[in-house]
Each structure stands twice: as C-alpha cells, then as structure tokens.
Assembly symmetry: D2
Homo-oligomer: 337 residues x 4
C-alpha cells in the first residue's frame, strides 16, 4: 500500500498514522519528496482492506498495491483451470456451447429443444427452472418441477445441465439435479449464497452483475473459492450503460482481461447481453474471436410463444447454422468446438 500525505501534514499526523500501521503489524518506509511525502507500507496489504486510512489527518490518498484476492489470481495459479462438468471439460482448447431455453416450460418442449441443440453440437443444456423476473406479474418459473424436466432431458440426451439458483434453500435440489449451478447476475453479490455454493465441489457458473466491475467479479469468485470450491466459471453477460439500443452492452474486453488476471474459464452469454436474437450470432462469433472458453445461447423451438425472453431466442435451425459458423471462427483462432 502507498499512502501519500498532504503538503500540510504535520509530524504529529505522520506519527499517528505510522503508529496505527504498526499496531496492525505493518512495516513502513517513508520517502520525503519535494512536493509530497510518501509512506510505503510493506507486506501483505490485504489485511488493511476496510481500514479507513484515508480519514487519518494529513492523508491525501491511499493506493493498494496487491490485488485484494488470492485464489482466483494468475499469480497464485499460472495454468488455466479446466473444470470437469460431468465429462465435458470447460477451459481447455475446446470451446463449450451451453444452449437451451431461457425458462423451462413443459417437459416435451424442454426435451425437444435439448435434442435439437445436442444434434447441432451443443454439449451442455441450459434452462431456467427458477426465474428472476423484474415484475411480480411475469412468469416466475416452474421451480423444482423445472429441475425435474431438465434432469429428464439430460437422461434422454446425455447433456449435462446448467440452471440458475435463486435461493440457498434450494441448494439440495441443485446438488442433486444440476451439473452446474448458475449464480445469476443479480446474485453475484449475494454473499451468503456464494459461501454456500462454495462449500461443495459442484461446478458454479458465476455471472457478472450488470454493473459489477471486473474486480468485484473476481472477489465474488474468491468468496466461492475461499470456501473450498475450485470449480468456478466466470460469465460475461453484458453491463448496464447509457445505450438504449440493446438490453445491455456486451463487454468483450472483459474476456482477454479476465484471461490475463485469472486462471478460471470465461464464458460469454450473448443472448442475455443483447436481448435481441439478431445480435446473438455476430456477438457469439466475436466472443470466440476474443478468446472466450464457452458460450451460453438461448434456443427455443417457438420464440413467439416463449414464456420468457422470446426476443433473444434462436430457432433451432438458426442455431444449427450458427454452430457451423462458430466452428470456423474457433478454428481461425486455433481452437475448436
């Protein structure tokens, strides 16, 4: 940590600050420049997180030096983490496509879509049983029954299943029925939930909150890993900006940035990010070109009648076409589907 003092800081101010730092176990080194005095705090400055050093008299600014996380960091683990999802490897050279309906509706529709996406080459089935909906008057998901339908679709297609958890009390069902537990954007900082999914080794797909910084996303992953669960996948799904033309702004710069900062796999969800099926194909290709390890794509056999997010769902025929196109882009960047 580097603390810069105000020009008018007194000797007393400096002593008071140094005393406090020492009482917290820190070693300090003072550099007096012509314009400012700098206090370098040596050692692991993570223990200073949350210390309100900026309110000490005479302090102008406080800059941490070390990242506030450990386990998620490339510094901690150099090689890429590869997560095993019921046999499907996420984070290796092969790009993983997770596809399926936004919300699980009926058994036969769910199984039908699962068969279609499997045929097209998807290797994981996505589907929402519990749905976080902005309005209390929108369809709220089938709940536990939806998880059953997904499990049945898995039995018939062999595709492992990813589904979103909304409430820690449902964790038992997810541990039993799902292969990947999705923690959605709205729950990225539901720290109790993070701690609980961190207590198992079931893979977790952690979505970036819609106004979460890269650092906050990594700290949320750190919550999960610090409880023991190393099977964490990160997911960029669009951030909130001033631009009203699409639902959110897909932040693809996050992909190479995360790949440099962390060893965890990075997935992209172009469907939720854009909220518009016409943008899914170009942004899916762009995500792979940017280095994503996988994609989440919404597919529905009848988008006009989908109970949730029909606007962004691809019909199976378009999805099949897209898979062909993605294969080409993957090869262009030295990977494959």
């Amino acid at each position: 940590m580097v603390i810069v003092l105000k020009p008018e800081a007194t000797e007393q101010n400096v002593d008071h600050l140094i005393d406090r730092l020492r009482s917290l176990g820190m070693v300090t080194q003072i550099t007096k420049g012509k314009e400012r005095t700098i206090v370098a705090v040596l050692g692991d400055d993570r223990v200073l997180q949350g210390q309100p050093l900026s309110v000490f008299p005479g302090v102008e600014s406080v800059t941490p030096i070390l990242a506030p996380w450990k386990l998620v960091s490339r510094e901690f683990q150099k090689h890429d983490s590869v997560i095993d999802v019921a046999g499907v490897k996420v984070g290796g050279s092969r790009i993983v496509i997770m596809a399926g309906p936004c919300a699980v509706e009926k058994l036969e529709i769910t199984v039908g879509i699962a068969q279609e996406v499997a045929r097209a080459g998807a290797t994981i089935l996505r589907g929402g049983a519990y749905k976080p909906r902005t309005s209390p008057y929108s369809f709220q998901g089938l709940g536990q029954e939806g998880l059953e339908f997904l499990a049945e679709a898995r039995r018939q297609t062999g595709l492992p299943v990813v589904s979103e958890i909304l409430d820690a009390r449902d964790l038992g069902h997810f541990l039993e029925k799902a292969d990947v537990i999705q923690v959605g954007a709205r729950n990225m900082q539901n720290f109790e939930l993070l701690k609980e999914v961190g207590a198992y080794d079931k893979p977790v797909l952690l979505k970036r909150g819609l106004s979460a910084t890269i650092k906050e996303l990594l700290l949320s992953a750190e919550y999960i890993m610090s409880r023991g669960n190393r099977n964490v996948m990160l997911c960029e799904r669009g951030i909130r900006t001033f631009e009203p033309q699409y639902r959110n702004t897909l932040d693809l710069s996050a992909v190479p940035t995360l790949k440099e900062m962390t060893h965890l796999p990075v997935i992209v969800d172009p469907s939720h990010a854009t909220g518009n099926w016409k943008l899914v194909a170009p942004m899916a290709k762009a995500a792979i070109a940017a280095g994503a390890d996988g994609l989440l794509i919404e597919v529905h056999s009848n988008p006009e009648c989908a109970l949730c997010d029909g606007e962004e769902s691809l019909k199976p025929s378009r999805f099949t076409e897209l898979m062909n196109d993605l294969q080409k882009v993957a090869q262009a960047v030295g990977r494959e589907l």
Copy 2:
C-alpha cells in the same frame, strides 16, 4: 400498448399479430398512416408483459402505455403513504433522521452511538448486524448478536431500529428484533427475499440497486406490496456511473421523480452514496431541499477504527452540528425534523 409495423409488413403479418393479440384477450384498433401502420392494443396491457411481440414478423417496435405496476402508483393511491415505525411516522411533514454506525461492533459502542444520535435529534437508529462485503476477507458483521446489541440500544434509548437483512432464513430474527427491515442495494432484485418480507406487515426500507432504474425500484416495491405488505419506504443511495471521484453518484433527481410517481416515502442515504464523510453534510442538506422524507446517516464515535466504512462516518459532534443545519433547510422547504 402501441405496436408499429415495418413499412414492408404484409397483410399476413398483420393478421398473424392480431390473431395472437386476440388469443391473449386484447382488443385492437389499426391506424394506417402514410409511412407506418399502427396497432393500438386497448385494455390493460400489463397482461402482455413478457410477451415477445417484437419478434413477430413485420413488427418494428412495441411501446407499452401503462406502467407495469399498480399498487405503488400515485394513480392507485393519490395521498402520501405514512408508515408507522414504532410510533415514528415516516412520510409525513416531519423529516425522519435514521443514524448510527455502519456495522454493529461492540455493545457499549453501539449503545454509546445510539445515545449520541438520540441526543442530537435522530429518531431511528441504524446499524448493520449482517454486512454484505465485497471481499471475503473483510469483516462480515456480528450477525444475530449484532441484532441483540441493537435491541439493547433500543431499550436504552427508545429509538426504533433499522437493520439490513441478507438472507431470508434470518427473517424470524428481524421480525422479532428490528423495527424496520432494510433490503439493501445488492438485494433489491432478490425477488425471493422481496416476496418473503412482503408476507408480513413489518416496515421495509428498500434501497435502490446501484444500477437499478427508477422503474426497477418501483417494480421491486411492487413485489413486496403485491404480497400484502404496504409499509414500504424507498431509499436512494447513489448509482454507479463513470465518475471515480466518489463511491457512487447520488441521484437526487430521483427524489422528486419518485414523489410524483409513487405515494411511498423516499429516504436518502448520503453516507453510502458518497463514501466520504466530507460530502455527507452538503448532500444531506441537498436531499432535504429536494424533498426527501428522511435520511440515513452513518455516525461513529471513532471513525478511524470503525470496522466498516469509517471513511464515510461522521463523528457525533459533527452530526449534532449537521442536525442544526438540517433543521434550517427543512424549515426553508416548509418541513421540520
């Protein structure tokens, strides 16, 4: 709802759309202009929420006419709601100051701060027992013991208590110990939690998510009210913008806007919004001038050693001074503390 058709929409497209709208129980009226055809959908268009009408062939745009909420609306209830918090009225002509430490730490500190803020004129005690912290390595709050300390401070000062809930499983403790249940910014769209606090009549302080729109805040309040709980207070606490100079950007335009759209009381939290004690006083005054019904202000007897958010906490002496200043501003806008 108003649906605008593309210039190239065919008769078939129009018929297909009208059929769908009729099957959903809607009456439609078609207006053919020179440049575009407009379909006006009559009746309560709230039932169309979530219908992906924009993916129908030939549709250019879909604009709802009615707000997606009912119970929170001024249209539904013209007069201001006044919430009774253990005898303290929130939403009337008197402005309510809720003050106290960010996090509850020790019993004697908590009681001491409570006494100081009561003496200065605060009428509700705030304090965090469960703390949502960005990093897993930060102080996470005392939990249930913190609620006990707050209850003891209430016994000694008579101040009702507001505290934040993080997990629906703690609801029992909150119903017993707290006078107002705070749903924090990170949980504004934790819909399961909203539904559960909606099942009681205990007052709820619902904070705006840091990237939530006014509309989303109102829909989250609607979640609570639609379950029966009418005692909802809204709280503006800063939104996330590009400006790095303060923690968040306090959006005071939300105050008069909410007062026009809803009958619910509107509280402002200048401490969390700015993250800087120097900005608390000017922004507290500004909030009252803008029409806020109350303020949440962090006060700590020793900010340098606070375990959470010491940067933004006022010392009791400064808080007392601020209360005097706020009284003057309140009177200038025809209210009082």
Copy 3:
C-alpha cells in the same frame, strides 16, 4: 408519433393539443381505450422534432414513430455504401486496415512506420497531426507540419492517409493533404464542423463520441450527409462506462446494430477503445467477427518513447503477426483483408 393522454385529461386538453398539431400540418386519429386515450399523429413526424408536446396539459407521454434521420437509413438506401478512398474501397467485402502512429512525430519515424504497416498489409495510413489532449501540458501535435509528413509518407508508400481535424479553419489543409478527414469522438457533436466537412465530397471518418448513443452518432452522420457529402464512415471506438479496467468499453454490439440501421461502412478502433496494446489483438479479431468493415490500429516502432498513447501501440512485428491472424478470422466470416 403516438401521444398518450393522462386519465384525467379533459376534452379541453385534447382540443388544445389537436389544434396545435393541426396548426403544424398534422393529421390525427384518436383512439379511446378503457385506461387511456391515444392520439396517433399521421404523416412525417420529423417536423415535430423539438416541439415540446409533452408540456401540453393532459399529455402523459410522446413517442416518435419514425427515426429522426433519413439519408443515413437503410430504409432510404438498401444497399451498402462503398466509399472510395483514393482507390481503396471501404464498405465492400474486403476489410480495410488503417494503421500507423497515434501522433505524427518526426518525418523519418512516420515514413518508417508507414513502410512497416504497408508491408504487413495495411491499406490506409493513420496518423495524428493535430492532437486533442486532455491536459494542456501534454504534447499537442505538430499541426500542419504533421500533415506534410503524412503526405510525404503517402508519396513513399502509396498509402492514402486518414488524419483528425480539430478546427474547421484547418479544413483547407486537410482537403489538400489528407484522403480521409477524421472527425474525432470529442467533435462528434461539433455541429459546425460537421456542416463544413459536409460541404465537400472528401471521405469523412466519423468517430462515435464516448458517451454518444447509436442514434446520436447517426444524427451526426446525417448532419454531414444533409450537406451533400455521402462519403461517411462510422467508427466505434469505445464508450465510457463504470469499468475502470480499460480506458473505454468497446461496444461491439454497435457493429451489427449499425449495419442493420444504416448503409454506411462501420470501422472499429480497438486501440483507443482499450488503451492497452495487449487487448488490441483480441478485440481486433472480435471486431471482424462481429462484422466490422475495417479497423484503425495504432502502430509505433518504439512505443516506450511515443509522444502519445504509447500504451496502446503495437510494435510492427506484433502488427504483422496480427494481420496474419486477422486474415484467418476474416475468412471465417466470409471476407478477406
């Protein structure tokens, strides 16, 4: 335009509004629903731009139906515009790479970089003679001399030149020396400048302002085209968001969105968007995968000593490598460099 009236709107309110609309030459049709009355305004509602209809008594909301532009629209011209830049076609199947230094420094450096990027396959040379710098104490560019150096580099390499104009009074020099006039992000709404570059047929590269919406970008292009200049290229170069990890957030969803809304070519500048040379390669690939018609890339022979934006400049060797990679991605999406 669709105008929705408040439930409490009186007959008088309606008559007053209709009178005003008629006096502006509009034909109206009124639809009375159970909840609201809707006034559909027929005809070209562009003439109503700027009319403050929302302040009329009884008006709840005003929604335009037609886009506020004409000439830039796909509705106006279905086929892609292809701009001829001294023989290089921009907007056709071939993707155009514009590369070179951020700022023009010395003649021999400029010519040297031009030769390197030409060798690697770039077809247009970029370089800043006039530099918009946030601080008055930063290098402000060589000005007119810089344009001379670029012209000399063009003579030696055959590459047409794109350079940014800051002041309409320099237009004569640009018309003479540059092949494309760049209007930078900070000048996207310098309407006087737009009008003046609109008076010639010299190609213009119009960069999106860092907080400009897609609609505002199109309206700025409309300014240029409405003065007669049809040779406009749009450029996405990152928008300002809350994320501090990169200089700006590259908004690649803008690429397919613009391609659908307008016939103009769309260029992407990954260098300025990210401000970090490590992100340039992945984002350049992603831009092409998303459908961009060209790229602007900063290349400098010695980034450590560049007078401007060395952080984001690629060395020539890395640029050559990137060109090979881009060729593969271009082919994967059915195009070529």
Copy 4:
C-alpha cells in the same frame, strides 16, 4: 509518481526503467517489499504526463501523485475566486441566478423574458444565439442576430448576458456583445476553443461535458487559465447515466467536491440536467443547499411554443415563485440571492 513492479521483474527491467526516468530528469527511490518492489519518483511528476511508463517491461502499475493541473487548484490559490461579470460578483456569498430562454427567438420575446426574470430577481440574462442541436433538422439558432437581441435586452434591463459560443470564428462577436462566454458541454474538450477564450479576460462559463469526469473538467479549465484568463466559472449540468427517467443525471456531489478541489465558482444548471420543468424547482433548491454559487435556469413566456427545450422551461410566474423559495434555502445555508 509511484511505480509498482511485477514480482517477476528482472534487475535489467528495473535498470531500464530507472535510466528512462533519469533521462527525463527524475530522481527515484526504490523500496523492496516482500511482495513487490516500489519505485517512488520524486519531484513534479506532471512532466511525466503522457509518458507510457506502463509499457516498460516489468512494470505492473503507475500511479501519479500530483494532480495534473496547477492553476485551478486550491493548493495554488486558497481563497475563492470571485469573478466580476459587469458588476455582478460570481463566487462570493451572494448566489447568482442566470435566467432566460433556451434559444433567442424574437426581439420582443427576448426583451420580455429579460424584463420578467429581472423583476423576479435574476441578475444575469441567459440566452442561446447559436444552438447545438442533435438533429440537423432542428432549429439551429439565430446566430449573430440573436446576440444583437440579447444586447438589446441588456440595454433595456441592465442584466449582463451569458451566451454559448460554438465556433471560435465567432469569438469577436462574443467579446463585443456578451458579458460571459459559455463553452457548452459538447465543447468542454474542444481544446482549440478553450485556448482561444483563454487568450482574453472575458469571463467564461465552462460546462461539464455530459460524460466528463471532475478531473477532465478541471483540466479543461486549466487549458483556459494556462492561456492567461483567470475568469473561469464551472458548471455542473448533468451527466449521462443508464437512468432514462430524466434527460441527464444531475451530479450534485460535484458541487462540494469541486469547491474543495478548486477555487473557481461552481454554477448548476438544473434545467438542462433534468430536461423537465417539474424537476427544476426541487433541483435548484438542492443545488443551493449543496453549496452552488449560482444557477442557470430556463424561463420562457410560452413554453408550449418555444423553439428549443420548451419541456424544461419555467413560466415567469413559476420562476418568480421559485426565486422566493430559493431565497429561503440560501438563507438556511448562510447565503443570500
């Protein structure tokens, strides 16, 4: 400046960096911690602005210590600047209200509004002669004739005049006819214009760009002051955020923040910020409570027919009422109108 090295930085990397810093005239001091090595660069690090030190091998991060400006800083001048606008003092204890129409339309309307706002207590007349309009099809202002009308209104009312300049070529007219030259939000980083208005001592009202940080605003003011003009007033007029409910989000935290960082007066424009006349009164009061030195308020005798921004204009009667209310708020915070 503080430079932190990566854990894997070699001796060679350090030497290379130190050599470069020395060649730029800097003195350095190296502190080796257990986790990182820190290089403190002593002396005025403003000369390092624009040096791409972060691309040097082995460098992890670069943090400047000194603010990049001088003349605008409180460190440079402790006391508040008070600007004399034809006898009206801006920046002293008296709060200055600048009111008038968004756009100058006709002579008699302009004079009429000027008389009304003068009667209500405004001390400066605002009015736009040259109008920056998002669409080329909107009313673009009267230009030079508009300046004449304003000058005539000044003759009849004695109110000094503030008006916005769009093009440096009009500077002569402004020097002659206006008392304050407004540099609008869109031109906050039109550096050529800043330099030119900096060459005179005519007061300048510099508006914050709609996505400009506080630091960028101060740097733009530094541009003007570094050319010799000390008569600069800053203006907060709303920033662009994700919230669609108002035109922009008025950032009142900027007021006390700027007052701490700079000695220059701070004005607030609630009319443009909100774009909605109903929000003008509460936000005007809030601005004064937050410590603003003045307000810019749009007033129009017939908002329904205003050629520009009628939505946000107050009628003279409402403005008169507001002036009474503002007087009370000003007194509550120890000032007066």
